[in-house]
């Protein structure tokens, strides 16, 4: 096997060989595709299912697919889905119980997830996966459902060639360049009709698969072009997070009037938490059948924007939208650090784009920051 880690280049046909190689190894291949006027993640088999020639226009509460002037396969920013849907699924059955006379039998639900291969995992998404790794399997209380999916997953990462209008990974130090945690990483290089992908491996299995692909060694010009792609993306960030000690800023201003102001606009609809690739909260639901013979416990995504989320004996702890928005933002940006050692935000911008009223987490931080620093100056 030659040394593939110096980088190789493959063509679009080579990319098809990659999809085939993964399928052959028994992976369920999931990647970006166009559905319902957005780029979503779904199972795919062929490169022509990728969003060739499409990009997106993103802003607070706004997403539109747009035609590109070229045939780039990955010329868009992240959409409404994240890999969380596959690694930490929205609904999971936990167990069933059946009653036979006076005897009760509990049977754990069979959970035999597919081995996933993800195509086009962005830097911010790798960071989000590593955060969920910490949360869901980082200590002795691992979630078996997450772990069984995660440990088998094969990640084909992607250096971003396009930042979206709500991306701010650069200011969260998570992107747009892929640094670690992948099996293979691609950079799409488009030069007129010359459509290539610089590819590098980051794991043994990645190297094995790469060795099977038709490829050419990458030249210095390819490497330079790939660096230029990422640097151009870095200069296009649609948003940025204020560079300040955010945990202290928020925790010192829990009664700031800005929380009331944002609560006036917030619908408490939970979209931000659902689309966030790091939010992990779930609730359990118990149901039983009409005959009272079988019962089932299942788990589904929940959100700190619902009243049930903080319901304890006597009522909901967070009944106001103000307290819910504050919970979400302080958890993402402040208490997450105490809990898990990093920020809970990777700067993917999904919560901004998919908030129906376009509430912008960077703008909310900036509002408190600017107000506090202007008062400090007085």
């Amino acid at each position: 096997m030659d040394n593939v880690d110096d980088g190789s280049v493959i063509t679009r046909q080579g990319l098809q060989c990659l999809l085939d190689a993964l399928a052959q190894r028994g992976y369920t291949v999931v990647g970006p595709t166009v559905r319902d006027q957005a780029i979503v993640y779904e199972e795919l088999a062929r490169t022509d299912e990728l969003p060739a020639g499409w990009t997106d226009e993103q802003d607070g509460g706004h997403y539109r697919l747009k035609r590109r002037s070229d045939e780039a396969l990955f010329g868009y920013a992240v959409g409404p889905h994240s890999w969380k849907r596959f690694l930490h699924p929205p609904k999971v059955s936990l167990w069933q119980a059946t009653r036979n006379g006076d005897e009760l039998r509990f049977v754990p639900a069979r959970d035999e997830p597919p081995r996933y291969a993800f195509i086009g995992v962005r830097a911010c998404e790798l960071a989000a996966i590593s955060i969920q790794d910490r949360v869901l399997m980082g200590d002795e209380y691992a979630d078996p459902h997450y772990r069984s999916r995660r440990e088998q997953a094969f990640l084909v990462a992607l250096n971003c060639s396009e930042a979206g209008g709500t991306c701010f990974c650069d200011s969260m130090n998570t992107g747009p360049d892929v640094k670690e945690g992948y099996d293979l990483v691609l950079t799409e290089l488009l030069d007129g009709d010359n459509h290539l992908f610089l590819i590098r491996s980051g794991s043994e299995e990645g190297a094995e698969i790469l060795a099977e692909l038709p490829r050419e060694p990458a030249t210095e010009a390819h490497q330079a072009a790939a660096t230029a792609v990422v640097e151009k993306t870095r200069s296009q960030m649609g948003r940025s997070m204020p560079q300040t000690a955010i945990p202290a800023l928020l925790m010192d201003n829990l009664e700031h009037p800005r929380w009331d102001e944002v609560a006036d606009r917030c619908l408490s609809c939970s979209n931000c938490t659902m689309v966030c690739p790091t939010c992990f909260c779930t609730t359990v639901e118990d149901t039983s059948d009409l005959e009272g013979v079988t019962a089932e416990r299942s788990r589904r995504w929940d959100s700190c924007f619902t009243s049930d989320f903080s319901y304890i004996h006597g009522g909901s702890v967070r009944s106001s939208t103000r307290s819910r928005y504050r919970q979400w933002m302080t958890h993402k940006l402040a208490t997450w650090v105490d809990q898990f050692g990093t920020s809970g935000c990777v700067g993917c911008g999904r919560c901004i784009t998919w908030c129906p009223v376009g509430i912008d987490i960077t703008e909310e931080v900036r509002a408190i920051h600017d107000d506090v620093s202007s008062r400090d100056k007085e």
């Binding site: 929205p90 059948d289 009409l290 009223v357």
Partner: protein, 260 residues
Amino acid sequence: MARSDQKPRLGVWKFASCDGCQLTLLDCEDELLQVAGAVDIAYFPEATRGSVRGTYDLSLVEGSITTLHDAERIQDVRRRSRTLVTIGACATAGGIQALRNFADIDDFMAAVYAHPEYIETLSTSTPIADHVPVDFELRGCPISKQQLLEVLSAYLCGRRPVTPAHSVCLDCKLRGNVCVMVAHGTPCLGPMTHSGCNALCPSYNRGCYGCYGPKENPNAPALSERLDQLGMGRAERLRFYRTFNAWAGPFREESERHEP
């Protein structure tokens, strides 16, 4: 908890409504036999010829109160029922017929009937809970079959039904839908509407019409502002809020804010 041999007596009652919610029970084809096995369907005019005698362990009440006669009849139903569950937008919010609450009933009658003098009706259509204490309200126009079965199953084993009060958006995201409001600019009531339909309309690229009424803690004025930005005018918004759940608090207040 072992069940007693005595099956609970079920009554299904109709007030001003279209029958759609009661028919949901008949629509439970696969489960209907199970239902009949678990409860004694003692009064259900849509399905059987029963009598209004005796008492009922569980009453499902469909429809709103629009006549004096019904206002008295619901008192009788309540007296005869150990547990009373209202089903559907008519029973829980007054239904589409609550549009009369915003107008002059005499004008309506004159427009619809050749001899309005023969019509005896109240000037309002109101939910059952305005008249008698209600143990549980199941929303929807019509109600969902799964939710009805869940309410019955929960009742039978004495647990709380799983009918969460969160937004349609949460279910929409569980399903992996692309948001029609954000990605298509289609007005959607999902962010203020109670869960229950499993985000049916957005799953077919339509905006939510609010069939399940307000979710807990809705913020209609903020949604109106967004609808306005999407190009939905004031009069259109008024009509958007004023449908099956027009009389439900947050929908009512928001539509009234939009009156000329």
